[in-house]
Symmetry: C2
Subunit: 406 residues, 2 copies
């Protein structure tokens, strides 16, 4: 066995074509040369998954989830075989496994399965033989050997779970950016790479729309204290460490500004202000499969109130149908949609111990003449819904105000 074990995960864009697969092989073998044991988790090549979904859709627009998993899991199987071949070409030993072969046992919830346990014997045996072990991300198997998948971004989860079970010294998530940024650098060029961030902050950012890592994988990393290193597959520079606690020289209140333009707002007007009415509306949405995000109900001085909430834009039409029905049933008034909104959020564990952060945020937006339509807070974040065309200027103003410009 080598001096230490690293789990490395490469996403679909890192293995999108022959050159990139060769690049990953060079990086992996570079670590092997330094003496590390390596378990490499790979996603499907580039757009393979989307292409397979499209093909299935032509044959059956409502495909069985079990068969969908059969179909989609081929994507990663192709990647791991090709990466093994690329590593062999460089003169190193490697062996690839599917989730089923390696023993990633999940429950039976096809297309969104949860990992139940991982049998690490096969991996350990191959590591002992000096091989680089390549594991198909995103997939597992039920105890009865039906293939399952872990949901979008599931390869992150495979990597974190393997790092935990194998007691890896490091878990590296490779992407096409250099790490986690204080905000989107395309909007604020003064955004800086964050050297270290806590699981909680990262979870908050993921739920607020940052698309670097799958939220479930961060939850697992937090639960089992697996330190994660998010970094670029095209550079040797260190990226961002995601850990339990970050000891910073100077206390930082706000660590990152996130934005999300994929939500829409719906307002149900004149809802009778009686117990159980809101419950009825949202129960209707839940059984229709709609994920509701922020919910705001105005304090009512009359017997009627307005309830606003946000949802994923892609679900707007479906949600409007469901809400109109529910509104009629409970005797509410008009239902108004607004797709022209965006969410801007500030995130930082430092907020817990600092007062006045919300006030500073509201003031900063007010100074830019940006109207706040909804507010929602958590322990470590504050979000505001504003008009979509104001979101870039809001991000820049907040990024400067909270001292994140580099």
């Amino acid at each position: 066995m080598g001096k230490a074990l690293i789990v490395q995960k490469f996403g679909g864009s890192s293995v999108a074509n022959v050159e990139r697969i060769q690049n990953v092989a060079r990086r992996v073998t570079g670590y092997r040369k330094k003496g590390y044991d390596l378990v490499v988790v790979v996603s499907a090549l580039g757009d393979t998954t989307d292409e397979l979904i499209e093909l299935a859709d032509k044959i059956n627009p409502e495909p069985s989830e079990r068969e969908m998993d059969m179909l989609l899991s081929t994507g990663e199987q192709i990647s791991v075989a090709l990466l093994a071949m690329a590593i062999h070409k460089l003169g190193y030993e490697a062996i690839s496994f599917t989730g089923l072969q390696v023993g990633i046992i999940t429950d039976t919830s096809h297309t969104r399965a949860r990992i139940v346990k991982i049998d690490t014997k096969k991996i350990s045996d191959e590591l002992k033989k000096g091989k680089i072990v390549i594991v198909a991300g995103f997939q597992g198997t039920t105890p009865d050997q039906h293939i399952t998948t872990l949901g979008r971004g599931g390869s992150d989860l495979t990597a974190v779970a393997l790092a935990k079970e194998l007691k890896a010294d490091q878990c590296e998530i490779y992407t096409d950016v250099e790490g986690i940024y204080s905000t989107d650098p395309r909007i604020e060029p003064k955004a800086g790479k964050i050297d270290a961030i806590t699981y909680d902050e990262m979870l908050e950012m993921a739920s607020l729309g940052a698309q670097v890592m799958q939220a479930r994988s961060i939850e697992v990393a937090k639960k089992f204290d697996v330190p994660i290193h998010v970094r670029s597959s095209l550079s040797e520079k260190p990226g961002t460490m995601i850990v339990r606690e970050v000891k910073r020289m100077e206390e930082v209140v706000v660590n990152a500004i996130t934005l999300n333009k994929n939500e829409s707002k719906i307002t149900v007007c004149d809802v009778p202000d009686k117990p159980g009415v809101a419950a009825k509306i949202f129960k209707n949405l839940a059984s229709g499969g709609v994920n509701v995000d922020m919910i705001v109900q105005n304090v009512s001085h009359t017997r009627k109130t307005d309830i606003s909430f946000t949802i994923q834009k892609a679900e707007l039409a479906k949600t409007m149908r469901l809400v109109r029905k529910a509104a009629a049933k409970v005797g509410a008034g008009e239902v108004v949609e607004d797709a022209d909104i965006a969410r801007v959020s500030i995130v930082g564990v430092g907020m817990k111990s600092h007062s006045g952060v919300a006030a500073t945020m509201f003031e900063t937006l007010a100074r830019k003449k940006i109207n706040i339509e909804m507010i929602s807070t958590s322990d470590i974040s504050i979000s505001c819904i504003i008009k979509k065309n104001k979101v870039e200027s809001a991000v820049r103003a907040l990024h400067g105000k909270f001292g994140l410009n580099k």
Copy 2:
């Protein structure tokens, strides 16, 4: 359980696109509607396998056979999932399995594995639930769960082996032709579909270049007496039955005329006529991985002789290098290649009990002024090597002479 069990195998061209997959689904469910239990074996979609081989070649021109099997087995996995979805769309129950999942246990010879045993419990259980069971052809697994493949045409073998283990009432091999023909209808329009043919004749035809079914699968069918029905996936007409013995009203001497234009001839001149010399030449070729087909050595009146043999045309350059080296070592003379040849053969179990068949063949060719360069015979076939540009006229003359014109 239904009234009888049919194993149906559909090749890559039968599932090459969405429409054809839907066509297969309609055919399969048509049989289900009639009350049959069904196990369906499917190959990879159209050119998938070739595309994956090409991709692998770009990454590593000498890929590990284990990883090649990992890669190629995804092709059938995609097919079975899509066919299951297409069958679901028609309102029938179906479930797909990979070779590994279903328990097709093979030896560890990757890319050309032999089936050791098949665990039929999983299939039987699903059949009992009333499901159509779809199995990925061409693939299996070692006892340690490493994925293997059975070699080109291996899906035929999967179907025959499953039919045997499941004691199926029928094993149907679907192709894009109506069955086995007395010769290639593109050359002789009077060629007729053969209603029934023996395993031995079919094996002989496969080894002589007929490309309808994989030879190994016919061997297995013969060994376990599995009757095979080769038929068209686009028509309801009966095709050709392959069985142990065909009781024909009238004894037929020759059943089919085959031709093969993919061979080349090599002649080693002036080989010293001593024991062990020929052995040295062919041992050299064998260790170089060259498959030699026909071998003819002329009777020698001097101390020197000429040895001619045929090989696959694709191996001509490589073989010439090996032969020239070997010829020099044993003190032989010139080595001459001839890619301009073809083989024409007559096949029929009736030959065993009839004399004069060879004479009739040679006479027929002579009458057409076709020179015979090499002759080779077996129990149930006679082959002649002739000039390539004469092969069509040879086929037509023999087809007529042996009473096969319809």
